[in-house]
């Protein structure tokens, strides 16, 4: 049972013991088809269910067709890893985006544009990261004044 649905079940059980429960339906798992044997399903609901299934069939057929011409996962992996490596070098060379747009092919442009928001981005939690460094990153280790008390903590590097 899922952790959040476990919590929901635990909460419901505790509520039943302590107080009048808030009204909520019991959670149920995928049954792969809806009601069990013996459940009466009217004509109109059956027709609606069939219409839904027909929509699903069209969608699945469309996805199957899409897969026939889709590149394998290696292409997606290559694209993603490329973004983490080559484009971060470009961003550190301060290449003008307009120059990139004018001179490079579409997929490379797209990769670089995306990487501007990923590995090219300075990451305060990495031991080695691109710049610029922001002094506020280390505010968690600086002396803090509060109305009630003073708190500070040392960075590990302060003791080295």
């Amino acid at each position: 049972m899922g952790t959040r649905s476990e919590r929901a079940a635990d909460g419901e059980a505790a509520v039943a013991e302590d107080q009048a429960p808030p009204s909520e339906p019991a959670s149920r798992r995928a049954a792969g088809g809806g009601g069990g044997p013996g459940v009466f399903i009217g004509k109109h609901r059956l027709a609606a269910a069939i219409a839904c299934l027909d929509q699903e069939i069209l969608s699945l057929q469309k996805e199957l067709t899409e897969l026939e011409t889709m590149e394998p996962s290696s292409a997606s992996c290559k694209e993603w890893v490329f973004q983490f490596t080559h484009c971060s070098i470009l961003s550190s060379l301060h290449v003008c985006v307009s120059v990139v747009n004018a001179q490079l092919c579409n997929s490379f442009k797209n990769n670089c544009r995306v990487v501007a928001s990923t590995e090219g981005k300075p990451d305060p939690l990495l031991p080695i990261t691109t710049g610029p460094e922001n002094s506020s990153w280390d505010r968690w280790f600086q002396r803090v004044r509060s109305s009630r008390n003073k708190w500070w903590a040392h960075k590990a590097s302060d003791f080295s």
């Binding site: 049972m1 899922g2 952790t3 959040r4 929901a8 909460g11 808030p22 909520e24 339906p25 149920r28 798992r29 995928a30 049954a31 792969g32 059956l46 609606a48 269910a49 069939i50 839904c52 299934l53 929509q55 699903e56 069939i57 699945l60 199957l64 897969l67 590149e71 394998p72 996962s73 290696s74 997606s76 992996c77 890893v81 973004q83 983490f84 995306v114 928001s117 990923t118 300075p122 990451d123 939690l125 990495l126 031991p127 080695i128 990261t129 710049g131 460094e133 922001n134 506020s136 990153w137 280390d138 505010r139 968690w140 280790f141 803090v144 509060s146 903590a153 960075k155 590990a156 590097s157």
Partner: protein, 379 residues
Amino acid sequence: MSVAELKEKHAAATATVNSLRERLKQRRQLLLDTDVATYTKNQGRSPVNFSATDLVCCRTLQGHTGKVYALDWTPEKNWIVSASQDGRLIVWNALTSQKTHAIKLLCPWVMTCAFAPNGQSVACGGLDSACSVFNLSSQSDRDGNIPVSRILTGHKGYISCCQYVPDQETRLITSSGDQTCVLWDVTTGQRISIFGGEFPSGHTADVLSLSISSTNPNMFVSGSCDSTVRLWDLRIASRAVRTYHGHDGDVNAVRFFPDGLRFSSGSDDGTCRLFDMRTGHQLQVYARQPDRNDDEIPTVTSVAFSISGRLMFSGYSNGDCYVWDTLVAEVVQNLGTLQNSHEGRISCLGLSGDGSALCTGSYDKNLKIWAFGGQRKVI
């Protein structure tokens, strides 16, 4: 057409759907010729190297008297809102550890909370099947409680997760045990769109988690007890854009990668998985090494990425908090084994807006702030 004929047609359509799903599954399997870790290792790439004292717990936020279930940061400031089994939301200044607000909830069975983008409101939801919104500027009553400013009702099941649409204080998405997600107008309290439910391609079991893309806020993903993740377009509620298969258990957590083109999911099957949003390919499985001490496989409760995406943080039911090198799929640190770590299940985690700190919430009733305290090299 008679009922008997309709039933026959229904059975035939169901069989066709099942057959197509099986073909899709097999075709996708054929397209999985490698994963990210194999590809990067072939390039000779090494994992991120942390020393034992690089990532440190620099704050412990104490105040809840029950398990912490959820947390959320403000986008720009150092504030965190947390939700607990004690029936309260607490708003913290994470830098000073001070509590700025403690909100006693009408329904104590809260499961999720979220900060509005402007940091002036918080939302929460749980077993009451409603999402409550509180304006932090509101005047408290005699007991010190903030009155609720809006209650979003309409779900027919518990609220498992809620998140504001980035940069929009008036729009919020919820996920629910009623198998749907809903986009709300917080100002009017009205449902704008319902994702799933009676429409085809919706989840077929409780929805447990959601994540909105920060680069394209019209797109969000949801994780469910039906073991799938589904991608939705806010502008097209009639059907899911794509369904991602792979997990063998409830999907408890989903989170977009910073570029908005991939996302990670965490599940009861003990793994995290990275998917390519556009193609549907499963790019990587992040699986724990089997541990002799584990009676059963610890489940993944929460996931988050560092601001660059190079690190992925995943919380587990046994108190572990793995730091994965996303590219090489190796665990580079376990916050659960460090000094001052939590003493119970990690239930939630999230990064500060500038990526300088990670907050973890736990069944040990505490929240902890983790930051990089080592020698940083800037290139």
